[in-house]
Amino acid sequence: MITSRDKTTFLNRQSFLELDARGRAAALFDQGTSRELVGPFDRVESPWLAIQDVTPQEDDGCVVMKGKIAGKAAVVVALEGAFQGGSMGEVSGEKMTAALDLACADSENGQPTSAVILLETGGVRLQEANLGLAAVAEVMASILTLRKHAPVICVTAGTVGCFGGMSLAAGLSSYIVLTREARLGLNGPEVIEQENGIDEWDSSNRALVFAINGGEQRYAMGLADALVEDDTPQIADAVRGFIAKGLPHVHRSSQVELYRSRIGALDTSRQWDPNELRRAWGTSASEEDKR
């Protein structure tokens, strides 16, 4: 049910989904504080695409911006879902890794610098295969190093969602911000259907994808820290809030005992209704904070 007030909010919102990676990144900074690093005019393209008859892009689908968010130093790295599905190649991967490492170096030198990663990606770029996979591993390593000093905030708004190896990068983040249009998971539906058949996952069933991988479900299961509307000010607010909050008491990916016991308690003889897991897991974050 949409109340009249909600309707006004809905009509007045400024869509984040309609922005490209550059627009999304810029929208998160305190006004007038951001500048792009290694932008399209630097023309650092993927060296692997043209030789495979794929047109490269002059920013390799990855936008790096540095500036201030909530008055604090921050870097935003945004993947462009419209270029090769936001896939991670050598150049886009190294942009992200190097940006995280520079934020880490500044943090270690007394200038705490948070990172916001905008992940719209299907994972590794298959035209760069092993260099893409290596890039994902290096991004993950750099997130782990930075998050000792300053938070790493993952925003997945849609419409590509965050899949493949980069879902592990999301999993390592200090905070995850999702919209209802976002999807987050390791394996996309097509891959699961291909590997294990249509009985395992019917990839034409879009409702099933959102019921399992959708932002609302992930948030309700305690696997994301904020569920926001597709509204740029709301998303920027959520990011500012987490930057102001600083590091979490414990990172989700370090809560091994909690999640291992939850997996151990599952009845694996059947598929589950996603709602069951909301009920079983849903209160996680707050419970863990009380410990």
Binding site: V38, M140, V191, I192, V256
Partner: protein, 274 residues
């Protein structure tokens, strides 16, 4: 083209530790044990197939939910045990078919399970544990990201049965709209596409390629030689930074990862401008 057999992990785990058991309370698909290695007491970890595993999509050597959280548990246990002691080496013996592709896995957030295992390995590395991945068979995609790719040093056998890749060949061909033959042909000139471990070595990510006549049946002499390589890699890891910079500072990386090096240099330069 190498077919995944899933036997090599057990073979090498047994060769290093003298047994092939999981730790108490762990699933049969994760072998973990401490065993002497040089002057150290190292922790060895390996994923193996278990036809009776609880999760149906993780019975053939895939890394699933239980495998990932068990790895995370055993690596974190080693970190905790060595909090005030010499940091034991952690050896990931890698022969993984892939991550588990299932609906149960997605519903119960395998992305977080995989992240938790990588978190544990990375945290161990940052805490000063030498983390060494020894690729004895397959190391595919999310399976390798979960188990092995956070290591300070990666060693692999220069053998047809060894394969490190982002996706198995048939699926990669289908998604990039090529035939398997076309993909093989491209791999000959484009190193990151190749399924040949010798081409992978050109990317600069490997610490060393090792030779064993038949990795499924190593001789006692070969086991000893591989142990010595592990010991040397541990010493090397202990003497260098705990990050992964070695992967882009190797002689091979200077040739193959020129774009990475350029991006980093430009970003560093522009980062400091105000």
């Amino acid at each position: 083209m190498s077919t995944f057999t899933g036997v090599r992990g057990t073979v090498w785990f047994r060769a290093f530790t003298g047994q092939d058991n999981p730790m108490p309370g762990d699933p049969k698909s994760v072998l973990a044990a401490d065993a002497p290695l040089g002057t150290d007491n190292a922790r060895f970890l390996c994923i193996v197939p278990d036809q009776h595993a609880r999760f149906p999509c993780a019975r053939n050597g895939q890394v699933g939910l239980e495998e990932a959280y068990t790895l995370a548990t055993r690596v974190r246990e080693a970190i905790e045990l060595d909090k005030n002691a010499t940091k034991r080496p952690i050896i990931a013996i890698v022969d993984v078919k892939s991550q588990a592709y299932g609906r149960r896995e997605e519903t119960a957030a395998i992305f977080l399970a995989a992240a938790a295992a990588a978190d544990a390995y990375g945290t161990a590395r940052l805490a000063g544990h030498p983390v060494i991945a020894l690729v004895v068979g397959h190391a595919i995609s999310g399976g390798f990201l979960t188990h092995g790719y956070q290591a300070n040093r990666i060693l692999a056998f220069d053998d047809d049965g060894v394969m490190i890749h982002a996706m198995h060949k048939e699926a990669a061909a289908r998604i990039t709209r090529r035939t398997v033959e076309e993909l093989d042909e491209l791999g000959k000139t484009i190193a990151p596409l190749s399924y040949d471990i010798k081409d992978y070595a050109k990317l600069g990510l490997l610490h060393k390629l090792l030779h064993v006549e038949n990795p499924a049946k190593p001789s006692a002499h070969e086991v000893l030689a591989v142990k010595n390589e592990l010991i040397a890699a541990i010493a090397d890891a202990r003497s260098k930074p705990v990050d992964l910079s070695n992967r882009r500072e190797s002689a091979e990386a200077f040739k193959t990862r020129k774009a990475s090096i350029l991006v980093r240099a430009k970003l560093e330069e522009q980062w400091r401008e105000t």
